[in-house]
């Protein structure tokens, strides 16, 4: 019969000494052997664990630099590499595990945003969610309401937002504890610096681009002066009059619009009038030219006709005149629309001099 469990291959229990005919083995020897075997197994396991830990320790040094970041590696506190070589570019790298090496990741490819914190009205989360405008109280509480003072002693709310990118990671991280906080204050300074030289009206609506440029110019100046290790990508500046002056500004805007409309109409009238006058002037001058040309050509024609007919006329003056008169009368009578022939003898001729029938007639004919 076969043995499916291979029981025959299991280690055999040692036979008692009397069974093998040898000297008897003590119980202590067996225990020591078992203990030794157990310890050997344990050491083997510990060794494996240790090898595993060493491997894990070594592998833990592998790190990846993402495409939008750069890494500075501090080995025993000192940056590894020299100059630009201190910056680990995107890809796989290896470092000793902490505390030998320490990785400082800096987001260089990604735009970061800071917003000014002192010139804007107090916004509650509800107002922020509904994009609600501030409430007018007749005054501003300096401890909670942000605003700036303008050059003409006015008050406006200003908020500046800046997008920037880290351009010098070493300077950005190694020389400054908190660049965004410092940059926020640079932005705050810039909005007050610009407000101080603009009138409230210029900042709010008359010269918004100029005001924005002044803020950004100041930001650039300070960033360059402090050498924050960043490059500014874009900047946006919002300006709003205080809630108490909304209506006043609307009225001013309306009045200005109205003035613009009136002036625009007047200018249109001026342009139209001058254009028409220029057209009429050209027509008058052309008319003068036409009539002068006609006169000259008429006189030339008359001269020619005179010279042509003069010999004929001199042959028989009266007859030639009558012939010409008759021909002229024929043409005149042919062209005349109404002709009246009166008898030779009549006592009275009454003429009703009115243009009414003619007008009626012309209307009818039209």
């Amino acid at each position: 019969m076969s043995d499916p469990l291979n029981l025959d291959k299991l280690p055999k229990r040692p036979k008692p000494a009397d069974e093998e005919g040898l000297a008897p083995t003590t119980f202590e020897d067996a225990s020591a052997q078992a203990l030794s075997e157990a310890l050997r197994s344990s050491f083997r396991i510990i060794r494996l664990i240790m090898i595993g830990l060493v491997l894990l320790f070594l592998c833990s040094g592998v790190f990846v630099v993402q495409p939008n970041e750069q890494v500075i590696l501090l080995r025993l506190g000192k940056p590894v590499g020299v100059g630009e070589g201190m910056l680990f570019q995107p890809g796989w790298h290896w470092a000793w595990p902490y505390p030998i090496d320490e990785k400082v990741r800096i987001r260089t490819g990604q735009s970061q945003t800071v917003t000014s914190s002192t010139g804007w009205y107090a916004v509650t989360p509800e107002m922020d969610a509904t994009n609600a405008m501030p409430t007018a109280y007749g005054f501003l509480r300096p401890e909670s309401e942000g605003y700036t003072l303008t050059g003409d002693g006015g008050i406006v709310h200003v908020k500046a937002t800046l997008k920037y990118r880290v351009s010098k990671p070493l300077r950005y991280h190694l020389d400054f504890a908190d660049v965004p906080a410092l940059l926020t204050n640079v932005l705050n300074e810039a909005i007050f610096h610009a407000s101080a030289r603009f009138t409230a009206d210029a900042a709010v609506y008359k010269d918004r681009p100029g005001f924005r440029d002044a803020v950004m110019e100041r930001v650039n100046e300070l960033v360059e002066k402090l050498d924050l290790g960043i490059v500014i990508e874009t900047g946006d500046v919002e300006v709003l009059p205080p809630a108490d002056l909304f209506d006043a500004y609307v009225k001013v805007n309306n009045a200005e619009e109205q003035r613009g409309t009136e002036l625009s109409k007047a200018r249109s009238y001026r342009d139209e009038t001058v254009r028409t006058a220029i057209g009429q002037a050209k027509a008058i001058i052309n008319s003068g030219l036409v009539s002068s040309n006609w006169l000259i050509s008429q006189v030339v024609a008359d001269e020619r006709a005179f010279l042509d007919q003069l010999p004929l006329y001199r042959e028989n003056r009266e007859l030639y005149k009558q012939r010409l008169l008759a021909a002229a009368m024929e043409r005149v009578l042919t062209n005349a629309s109404v002709k009246f022939t009166l008898p030779e003898q009549f006592d009275e001729l009454r003429l009703q001099v009115t243009r009414e029938p003619e007008k009626l007639e012309s209307k009818t004919s039209r």
């Binding site: 942000g146 410092l182 007050f192």
Partner: protein, 308 residues
């Protein structure tokens, strides 16, 4: 006697542990971003700003104090102050500062950054009040950029705080700026009233300007029109006059027989005058109707008339 044989792995591990333990006791790291002050039995020994692995005697012989050596941002509270022209304003200033002398910094604040900022706040308040008190408000806000001394006042504050911060606190102030400028609550009320009055005035000004300016533009346009037309009339007359002068040259020809010339011109004028839609009232003595009159000789009729 037989020497016991040690496992080399065990030996190496033990040695490694020992080295690590000793390194922890006798060595320390200085990061690039920090400065470490070493004190021996509480006394200042040295300050290390150079990054790397450094040696020390173990605690409690030597102690380490680590400070961030980078530029820090410090913001002060919004505080009231008075200008030279007795205007009350609220000013908030920020600082960029870094540890310049770690020994003084440690002795003065025992390494407590919060206490350091409190010390800076005192210095800053004094500098701010002193500088603003020497300038009128128009140096801070003015529509005329030439009158403004905004940046100059910031520089004055910086110059004022710099030596004191360095000598007293071991701190270097690298930047200073006004981050907020305001007015007391009661003054904002007055400012609003003034601004409203200004806006009302502006509305009236715009309305007045609109009417006046529009009338001026229209009248100028009418004037310009008259001028253009008058100039055109002048030109047309000159042209006609030149034509008349030109035509007069041909009159020499007509002098050969003035009677015939006048007759021809009259005929021409007659035809031109009665060219369109004329109404003629003639009697039978008029050529050619005189043929109807048997008593009169043909061609002797002299009268003709017309009534348009």
């Amino acid at each position: 006697m037989k020497m016991r044989k040690y496992n080399p792995v065990t030996l190496a591990t033990g040695l490694l542990v020992l080295v690590i333990f000793l390194a922890m006791l006798f060595c320390f790291q200085v990061r690039q971003t920090e400065v470490v002050v070493v004190t021996t039995f509480g006394r200042y020994t040295r300050a290390i700003a150079e990054p790397g692995l450094k040696f020390r005697w173990p605690w409690p012989i030597q102690n380490l104090h680590r400070f961030d050596n980078r530029i820090h941002n410090f913001e002060k509270h919004y505080e009231q102050t008075t200008t030279r022209d007795s205007k009350t304003i609220l000013v908030d200033v920020f600082l960029g500062w870094k540890i310049n002398d770690p020994k003084i910094f440690l002795e003065r604040f025992n390494g407590d950054m919060k206490r350091a900022e409190e010390g800076l706040e005192v210095l800053l308040r004094a500098a701010k009040n002193s500088v603003i008190g020497q300038h009128p408000l128009s140096d801070l806000i003015s529509p005329n950029p030439q009158d403004l001394k905004f940046s100059q006042m910031e520089q004055e504050m910086l110059n004022s705080i710099k030596p004191a911060a360095k000598e007293s606190y071991g701190v270097e102030v690298v930047a200073l700026g006004i981050k907020q400028l305001g007015l007391p609550q009661g003054v904002t009320e007055k400012v609003f009233e003034r601004m409203k009055a200004e806006k009302d005035l502006l509305v009236k000004q715009y309305q007045g300007e609109a009417a006046g300016e529009a009338i001026r533009i229209r009248s100028e346009a009418d004037l310009e029109k008259e001028r253009i037309l008058a100039e055109a009339e002048k030109q047309a007359r000159i042209i006609r006059g030149q034509a008349d002068a030109e035509a007069a040259k041909y009159f020499k020809t007509f002098e050969q027989d003035p009677e015939f010339a006048v007759f021809l011109l009259k005929l021409n004028a007659l035809e031109q005058a009665l060219k369109d839609r004329a109404t003629l009232i003639l009697d039978t003595r008029t050529t050619p109707f005189d043929v109807l009159n048997s008593k009169q000789e043909v061609g002797t009729g002299k009268r003709q008339g017309e009534q348009p």
